[in-house]
Amino acid sequence: MNLDNIDLSNAIRVYSLSNTPLFLIRKLQADPLVQRMARTASGEDLIAALRRSLAAQADEAGGVRPFVYLVALWLQPDASRLRDAAVAVAAHGSWHSYIASALVETHSPVQVRRIDAPGYLPNPQSKAGSPAANNSRTINT
């Protein structure tokens, strides 16, 4: 996933409607693109993209782009990357520091656990009258 070339149209729309930073956070947390970014991109890549976005000239998407990466980091289980990101954005504006603090405070590690589906019994017992009982056949000679 090329983090510098993603479709931010929904994020830009949400940002333009945001009266408060918490509204922006809630909407980005529910954005499928941000969720996919969190699943497919590494924390290192997200932080690198965040730093590039902070250094870049603000274009149409420039305003919301750092928040997209921050929320993607919040969706990942490793809180240390999010804390690094919070330090990086702190001096860039009141919303940046507020959102970063809110995300760090509300982060909880997500555990992914694989649960195997129940298997079949190796030797099912059959009783008279059950379908399995009909599997045996007596041949008279």
Partner: protein, 155 residues
């Protein structure tokens, strides 16, 4: 000659003389802001879209509580205003023009507006983020209208 910073905080007090944190941005609107406003007009054709340009100087709370002068965005500041200015909740069936409405999500006042008229569905004047001002039915806007509360100033 007064030199104004691109971003600053206005002196804005509640009736109890507590400062309300706010931030006015005098930066010019971005190229996309006008386009977003046009998009909202297409998305909400039933609403009346006031001919006010997009602005980062004030938001919905700035319209509702600060005469369109600044942007108020911290949840606790809205609570401070409601408390210090003695707003009281009003049941929806008793809502009158001049009351205000708060759209709340998990303690965050994500939107607010001023009631313009009553009826089966109250009509609200509000501002949508950086976009323009809109007169709309209380439930015909991009904000969650499932948890809305009406308030009236007591005296």
């Amino acid at each position: 000659m007064v030199i104004l910073l691109l971003r600053s905080e206005l002196q804005l007090h509640t009736r109890c003389e507590n400062q309300v944190e706010n931030e006015i941005s005098r930066e010019p609107v971005r190229a996309g802001d006008e386009l977003h406003s046009q998009d909202r007009k297409r998305e909400y054709p039933q609403a009346t879209h006031r001919p006010v340009a997009p602005s980062r100087k004030y938001n919905c709370h700035g319209l509702t509580f600060a005469s369109r002068r600044t942007w108020i965005w911290k949840p606790q500041e809205i609570q401070k205003i409601l408390r210090d200015d003695e707003y009281e909740e009003v049941p929806v069936q008793e809502v009158l023009p001049g009351d205000i409405v708060i759209y709340d999500q998990q303690g965050d006042a994500e939107h607010s507006g001023i009631v313009m008229s009553r009826g089966p569905v109250p009509i609200i004047l509000s501002k949508w983020g950086t976009a323009h001002e809109v007169v709309h039915r209380v439930n015909d806007c991009p904000y969650d209208s499932m948890r809305i509360t009406y308030y009236r100033i007591k005296s």
